[in-house]
């Protein structure tokens, strides 16, 4: 009797959850299905699970716009930004975690406060600055303002602090330099946070739209989201092509999320639970 009730309970829970999940993934399901449909038949007849597998939309989309180029541009920007954020972030986090001096906490406060400054509050002077530097429509504009971020510094510092002091003291006794301690002991012991930072930076660059839209809208320099927007502008009513394009543009973040879920979620919980 008790067991029966439990099973009913479980079935009920499962039904509720699945119906909610269904609503959440409906747009996704539909996007994939539509991308596999025959050209011009985006909603007629309407169905959610793919019945036809017409991959010609993908070849049309891939050839209709230089998606390969957009991919490479974005990956180039993302790799430089990811590496630099880990490098600069680890250096700064090391100071905030291990080197005490007067005014340090105030500097840390200033660093963290950059997360609270909305992008729209600084976008005009940033645009003018990039223009003055002669960086409009160049990789510099996409990369240099993004070389460091407070979020990476924050999660790296949190992880550095939790390293047992014995390790660092022992290295100091052996006469190791700060540089050596940072890269040979502290960073290797904080790999999960390094990976979390890398995932966040990569997704940030991959999903970024407004800034590249302003400063790098030339065909040669387009990153993926700008490229996708330009592509759909070019094929106004070719919706099956659109959907192939959106699948192409969302594949990397979805894959990264699936394989890096653990790190991603730990990073999120840390933005939240403090």
């Amino acid at each position: 009797m008790q067991k029966n009730k439990k099973n009913i309970n479980k079935a009920f829970l499962l039904v509720i959850t699945i119906s909610m999940v269904f609503l959440m993934v409906l747009p996704y399901l539909w996007m994939i299905t539509a991308s596999l449909k025959e050209r011009g038949h985006v909603s007629d007849p309407p169905y959610l699970f793919p019945k036809t597998f017409d991959f010609s939309n993908y070849t049309k989309a891939w050839n209709g716009a230089p998606f390969g180029k957009y991919y490479l541009n974005t990956i180039f920007v993302a790799v430089v930004v990811v590496v630099s954020r880990i490098l600069f972030g680890s250096l700064a986090a090391y100071v905030f975690a291990f080197i005490k001096f007067k005014g340090r906490d105030f500097i840390y406060f200033l660093y963290i406060s950059t997360m609270m400054i909305p992008f729209y509050a600084i976008v005009i002077p940033m645009y003018l600055l990039v223009n003055d530097f002669g960086w409009l429509n160049s990789y510099q504009a996409l990369i240099i303002p993004r070389l460091a971020d407070a979020f990476s510094i924050m999660i790296l510092r949190q992880s550095f602090i939790s390293i047992p002091h014995d390790y660092i003291d022992a290295a100091k006794m052996d006469g190791a330099s700060h540089w050596h301690i940072l890269w040979k002991i502290v960073v290797p012991m904080s790999l999960p946070s390094v990976i979390t930072s890398a995932i966040f930076s990569f997704l940030y660059i991959w999903n970024d739209f407004f800034w590249p839209f302003l400063v790098a809208n030339e065909p040669e320099l387009r990153v993926i989201q700008i490229g996708l927007q330009a592509f759909t502008g070019q094929y106004l009513t070719e919706w099956t092509y659109w959907m192939a394009g959106t699948v192409i543009a969302s594949l990397p973040p979805v894959l990264i999320f699936i394989f890096g879920q653990k790190y991603y979620i730990s990073g999120l919980s840390r933005t939240g639970l403090k």
Partner: protein
């Protein structure tokens, strides 16, 4: 000197060298621009080839008496509050269900709920445009089986903002669910055992144990959600461009139009400053309520 730096661990020198790269980025691309925005907001500068003219607080006066600007603030606040509160309420309910120990495949479900959040905004917006297309869209094709004239969604003045909110909630929900799930797992299980011993039913337990325990997390989700939703731009640009008749013209779009299509850099900066002040007020309220977010002991 360089040698001794590596040998002797000069703390001050190390601190300066280690902080320098990130400090340069923040000073040049965050702190200088925000100060510059304050300064520029006091000028009229509509022509890049001419010198800016000092006009004091004129830009602010003009903005505050501009019905279009006030409308954009109203639209943004309506959007931000609705998206934030609805995704918080739904998020807590769904997280509670996902936290139930009888539910199988939890990680899988959690991942699916989170999928919209990792989707690029441009992708999400494009899918929604077609999904909600009045004539050929999937939603209306289905709805026409039940009602004769379903709404025109993005192109309907009565529905456009609501459709945009739906998109916002869809993308936000995963985040609130993940945060609530992490917080729910921190509630000591004794609390639930005591509630059970006292004969509380599921609803009462939720009301008297879960909700009060979730208060700090909820406050934080409200401020983070408001900040995020207040900055909505990409999806509006792609779906409605502020139309029809300005019902979805959010403040970031207003800023974009004035600063980057009409080149009113001074007036645009005044809008920037107003956005900055609003976000600061939200941030300070958060710090007051839940404390400054850098204390790793609580994390």
């Amino acid at each position: 000197m360089f040698k001794s730096f590596f040998r002797k661990r000069n703390n001050t020198l190390t601190a300066i060298i280690f902080l320098l790269p990130s400090a340069v980025v923040f000073i040049v691309f965050v702190f200088y621009p925000i100060l510059k925005a304050f300064r520029l907001s006091l000028f009229e500068w509509n022509n890049p080839s001419k010198e800016p003219i000092f006009i004091g607080l004129e830009n602010y006066k003009e903005l505050l008496s501009d019905a279009r600007f006030m409308n954009s603030l109203k639209v943004t606040f309506t959007y931000a509050f609705s998206v934030t509160f609805i995704s918080i309420i739904l998020g807590l309910l769904i997280a509670t269900i996902l936290n139930n120990k009888n539910l199988p495949f939890k990680t899988f479900f959690r991942g699916l709920f989170f999928l919209p959040t990792v989707t690029p905004t441009i992708v999400a917006a494009m899918v929604w445009i077609i999904l909600f297309n009045p004539t050929y869209g999937f939603i209306n094709t289905i709805l026409r089986n039940f009602i004769s004239s379903p709404p025109n969604w993005f192109s309907d003045p009565d529905w456009a903002l609501l459709t945009l909110m739906l998109l916002g909630i869809w993308r936000r929900l995963g985040f609130t669910i993940i945060i609530y799930l992490a917080a729910l797992q921190n509630i000591p299980s004794e609390y639930y055992e005591i509630a059970q011993m006292d004969g509380a039913n599921t609803l009462q337990t939720f009301r008297y144990v879960t909700i009060p325990q979730m208060l700090p997390t909820t406050l934080m989700l409200i401020t983070l959600g408001l900040m995020d939703a207040f900055m909505v731009f990409d999806q509006v640009l792609i779906t409605t461009r502020g139309g029809p008749a300005g019902v979805t013209e959010v403040v970031s779009l207003f800023l974009y139009t004035d600063a980057f299509t009409l080149f009113k850099m001074g007036k645009g900066s005044a809008i920037s400053v107003i956005i900055f002040v609003i976000i600061m007020v939200i941030t300070i309220i958060q710090w007051r309520l839940v404390g400054f977010g850098t204390n790793e002991d609580v994390a």
